[in-house]
């Protein structure tokens, strides 16, 4: 696609591009070098700062933290999908007394910043005599927010199914909820699968907010390990390691979304990609 932006370079353009390339490479190397130098100058590469990686207890702790992150992710993802599905169906209902509350709930939880929601549950639940615990506080907030976003995704998917499908299903004598379950939903989910997976990436990243309410997930573990005096408070090494873990997890999920999108484009039986892309671009931050 981008190759139409410029002609096949001639000799002068090639020379110019090469000059820019050299300049850019130099700039990148200089930047990386500067960062590396600062790391080196402040002793981030010293072996004491990395020794924590060799202790079995700390490795087990790190794995437990990874497990905590994944547990919050999996539980919240499943619940968010359920909530999203129910809200989407509610929003498309023919009864106003289902439609209006569903609309209000979806719009409200989408508009509230996730942090505000987490803090609210964290501080308000004990006031109301509820013992939620950090895990369920985090999971409930993630579920409400991402469920509302997914509701919009499901709804867009169901609206994108050609009208003839619904009409044909009714003509065959299917009931309202049969039409929804057997005709609209399967097609909608298929059309929106890449978007749904992208939203799950967002959910995975947002589990890191558990750090703010001391849920013992990866970031919390990084803070703990980074404060250990016997290893010279290796906060930068731990941040780098945890960062690598997050990037690996999210890239794996993202590439699944990419694969699903390519597959659906190849089979050509789903939404035109421009619509799907637009929705993805709007939601994936």
């Amino acid at each position: 696609m981008t190759s139409v932006l410029y002609d096949l370079p001639g000799p002068r353009a090639r020379a110019r591009n090469k000059a820019f390339g050299v300049l850019a490479t130099f700039g990148i190397v200089a930047l990386a070098g500067f960062i590396g130098y600062r790391f080196w100058a402040t002793g981030q590469f010293e072996s004491t700062k990395w020794q924590w990686l060799l202790y079995k207890d700390l490795q087990v702790q790190l794995l437990a933290a990874l497990g905590a992150t994944l547990a919050a992710f999996v539980v919240a993802a499943v619940l968010a999908l359920v909530v999203g599905l129910l809200s989407a169906v509610g929003r498309l209902s023919e009864h106003w007394w289902l439609r209006t509350p569903a609309l209000a709930i979806v719009e409200f939880f989408r508009a509230i910043p996730l942090v505000v929601m987490i803090f609210f549950l964290f501080y308000a639940a004990p006031q109301a005599g509820l013992k939620l615990g950090v895990f369920w506080t985090l999971v409930a907030s993630l579920t409400l927010y991402n469920g509302s976003v997914l509701a919009e995704v499901f709804r867009a998917g169901m609206l994108s199914v050609p009208r003839g499908q619904r009409e044909a299903a009714y003509a065959l004598g299917l009931r309202k909820n049969q039409v929804m379950r057997a005709v609209l939903l399967p097609q909608a989910v298929r059309a929106m699968l890449p978007t749904i997976v992208s939203q799950l990436v967002v959910l995975l990243k947002d589990t890191a907010l558990g750090f703010l309410i001391t849920y013992p997930e990866l970031l919390y573990e990084a803070r703990y390990l980074g404060g250990l005096a016997e290893f010279g408070r290796p906060i930068i090494p731990t941040a780098l390691v945890i960062g690598a873990v997050y990037i690996t997890l999210c890239t794996a999920l993202s590439s699944l979304a990419g694969y699903l999108e390519r597959r659906s484009r190849r089979t050509g039986r789903v939404l035109p990609p421009s619509d799907a892309n637009l929705i993805t671009a709007e939601l994936a931050v």
């Binding site: 932006l5 002609d7 591009n17 505000v116 803090f119 501080y123 990243k205 947002d206 907010l209 980074g226």
Partner: protein, 216 residues
């Protein structure tokens, strides 16, 4: 209801003022950096393309909380410039959001018809000329709605700074809790506050769309 707002007006005013400030500064920063990155990603220089796509991959797959974490706790260890938590929060938000701005702008460039590129090349325009006089003016139209969403997310994301010693809207709930105020009402006012902040964003989007809604 209103009593709570009046009693804690110091919290609400300071909180939302800092949120607006964070949003505006990080918004400008991310737009500039994001457009620059998008330019790099479509440029004819491979090294720049690599840098652009590397940046986007890394920041899109890192939780914003981790970026904040790095700037709050790890940055001081590098003994670089000593800057306030607020400045570091702006940096974290701008760098994170820039990756998303870049992707939106790039997909906007992709919506411009290939014939437009070819025509401008046939007229002998250089890469920079093609981009600035032909492609970007057209791309910007399809970019406005998703860009508004990105900025909307940025507005909500500013609240993460509350967890890292920046007194802004996200910190109202903990502060209210400390004062023993009823949190449900506090939540109601915070929701209204964010509702009000979104209005100018949406209005700008409408105005820009109307102004640029030219048939192509």
């Amino acid at each position: 209801m209103i009593q709570l707002l009046l009693d804690n007006r110091d919290l609400f005013l300071k909180g939302f003022l800092n949120t607006i400030l964070l949003f505006v500064l990080a918004g400008i920063g991310s737009l500039v950096l994001g457009v620059l990155l998008a330019g790099m990603r479509v440029s004819p220089v491979p090294a720049l393309r690599l840098l652009g796509s590397g940046y986007v991959t890394i920041f899109r797959n890192t939780p914003l909380t981790l970026v904040f974490f790095f700037f709050a706790f790890a940055y001081p260890r590098l003994e670089l410039l000593d800057v306030s938590f607020f400045t570091r929060a702006v940096l974290a938000l701008a760098m994170y959001t820039a990756a998303f701005v870049c992707e939106v702008v790039r997909s906007g460039i992709n919506t411009v018809d290939v014939g437009q590129f070819e025509a401008s090349r046939a007229l002998g325009f250089t890469f920079i000329q093609t981009l600035t006089t032909v492609v970007v003016p057209q791309a910007i139209r399809s970019v406005v709605p998703p860009l508004t969403s990105v900025l909307n997310s940025l507005l909500k994301n500013t609240t993460i700074a509350a967890g890292f010693s920046v007194a802004e809207a996200g910190q109202i709930t903990p502060a209210l809790s400390e004062r023993g105020a009823p949190l449900l009402i506090g939540m109601f006012w915070i929701a209204i506050g964010f509702g009000i902040l979104v209005v100018p964003l949406t209005a700008t989007q409408r105005a820009l769309e109307k102004r640029w809604s030219v048939a192509r």
